[in-house]
């Protein structure tokens, strides 16, 4: 399945916030303006991977921390997804 992550670009300073927040984490502008939705690059540097297996649920989750370079701004992204097929003992 194709996956695409989107960030929220501050109209004042250009910083890409992820996830969405009301006020830009970098410039902390207090005048409300809609962020611009920007597609983040599909490639990044995988920093950590943690796989959690839940035997009772016969399923597993993986959490990845990925550094994504986007428009000159480094964004830390957490991905959570089901591994398929479910893990069996």
């Amino acid at each position: 399945m194709e996956r695409q992550l989107y960030g929220y670009q501050c109209p004042k300073c250009g910083h890409i916030n992820y996830p969405y927040r009301m006020r830009c984490r970098k410039c902390k502008e207090t005048e409300y303006k809609d962020f611009t939705l920007v597609a983040l690059p599909g490639k990044g540097h995988e920093r950590e991977v943690l796989v959690l297996r839940f035997l009772a649920l016969a399923a597993a989750h993986a959490v990845r921390v990925v550094d994504v370079a986007a428009l000159g701004t480094l964004v830390s992204v957490e991905l959570a997804f089901h591994l398929s097929p479910p893990v069996r003992r």
Binding site: R21, M22, R23, C24, K28, T30, E31, Y32
Partner: protein
């Protein structure tokens, strides 16, 4: 104790909002930051009653402090039923007065319309006594209906008086952009005409449809600060001068006189005493009119009028804009709306706006002392606040 001032105001429309509750709260907070001209606060209190149940959102203050990029400021959620807002303001007051913090943000937010009206009504009903009230199917409109019937029999309040409260507060809300109901109503339309019973059916005898507040979403914010910070703002100095809180029995039937709201009386006495003013000094008030009867009764219990005579003052027009003591110039819960956790902050927002002289067409002339009554449960946990304009 240090003196505490309101230095920033923010509010959303009280209506149906299609945003997550944390965003509703954060929007009000950002408006207040802008109003105050500051970028950081020391601490955040978020008043909310039902996010966990209605919106599947726990840890609301943690979500809001991050959404506003205010980390690493401390943050916590305050829940005290429909009095959560004023309770959070009380916490903020104590934090600044004690010297623990210099600048504290207090937000009230609620998103009730994510669920249907039956679920919202049951959610609010959970604040009644679980074993002696809620288990029998009581709802807040039912409780208010019983209370109103008793009050009518004892003090001569009529359905006309109740309707007059609704007409007055709907008229006030017409000048409030942020109010939920911009709907002028008349005594003819909701009481006297042949269509009145259709327009305004009974929902919990003797209360009718227009005797109850709407179910609303919304957020409001006040930033509190020390005198040193407030003096740098260059805005009219409005001081949170008095705070009072009192409780009563959880089950209404255990009260010696069920038509007395002793917690309202005691909380108001404390708030006036701390501020060094009397009820007769007040120029404008926001009272918790979740049902029309409550505005009348609270106006007596807080000391504006003698017991049993609030409806007579209403008849004389004393409580409408332009009267001797305007009550609920914002439209009150009745027409401005009642997003439960936000209500107390919304009331205080209106009073600070009035004392600053920034209330536009609904401005009470020369208002310098304002008062709020935030009514939790069915009068079993009440928080009153007194605001005084200095300078």
């Amino acid at each position: 104790m240090r003196e505490v001032y309101a230095i920033g105001l923010g509010i959303t429309s009280f209506t149906r909002l299609e945003y997550p509750v944390a965003e509703i709260a954060a929007y009000a907070g950002m408006m207040a930051l802008r109003d105050a001209g500051i970028r950081e606060v020391d601490h955040l209190y978020v008043a909310n009653m039902g996010a966990c149940r209605l919106n599947h959102q726990s840890g609301l203050a943690s979500a809001v402090v991050d959404s506003l990029s205010l980390t690493p400021a401390g943050a916590e959620t305050i829940e005290n039923g429909p009095a959560s807002g004023a309770s959070a303001l009380k916490q903020g007051f104590m934090a600044v007065a004690s010297g623990l913090h210099d600048v504290v943000m207090v937000i009230g937010a609620e998103r009730m319309r994510e669920v249907n009206n039956l679920e919202a009504t049951d959610f609010v009903a959970t604040l009644t006594h679980p074993l002696s009230e809620h288990i029998y199917g009581v709802t807040l409109p039912a409780m208010a209906g019983l209370f109103t019937r008793l009050y009518m029999e004892k003090y001569g309040v009529t359905e006309r008086h109740l309707a007059m409260v609704a007409v007055k507060n709907h008229a006030h809300a017409m000048d409030n952009f942020f109010a939920h109901l911009h709907e002028p109503i008349t005594l003819a339309g909701i009481l006297d005409s042949p269509e009145a019973l259709t327009n305004n059916p009974y929902i919990a005898d003797p209360l009718r449809f227009y005797d109850a507040c709407p179910v609303s979403d919304g957020g409001a914010c006040i930033i509190l600060a020390s005198q040193e910070v407030a003096r740098k703002q260059g805005k009219p100095l409005v001081r949170l001068a008095g705070v009072g809180q009192a409780t009563d029995t959880h089950a209404v039937h255990e009260r010696e006189e069920p038509t007395d709201l002793l917690a309202v009386r005691r909380a108001a006495e404390q708030a006036f005493r701390m501020a060094g003013v009397t009820p007769q000094d007040v120029h404008v008030a926001e009272l918790h009119d979740a049902f029309t009867i409550l505005e009348i009764v609270e106006s007596e219990e807080v000391g504006f009028f003698p017991k049993g005579q609030g409806h007579l003052a209403l008849e004389r027009g004393e409580t409408r804009l332009g009267g001797r003591l305007p009550i609920n110039p914002s439209g009150g819960l009745k027409a401005k709306g009642h997003p439960v956790g936000a209500t107390g902050v919304g009331q205080a927002h209106e009073i600070v706006l009035q004392l600053r002289g920034e209330a536009g067409n609904r401005q009470v002339k020369d208002a310098r002392v304002g008062f709020t009554c935030n009514f939790g449960g069915f009068g079993n946990n009440v928080v009153c606040l007194t605001f005084v304009r200095e300078d």
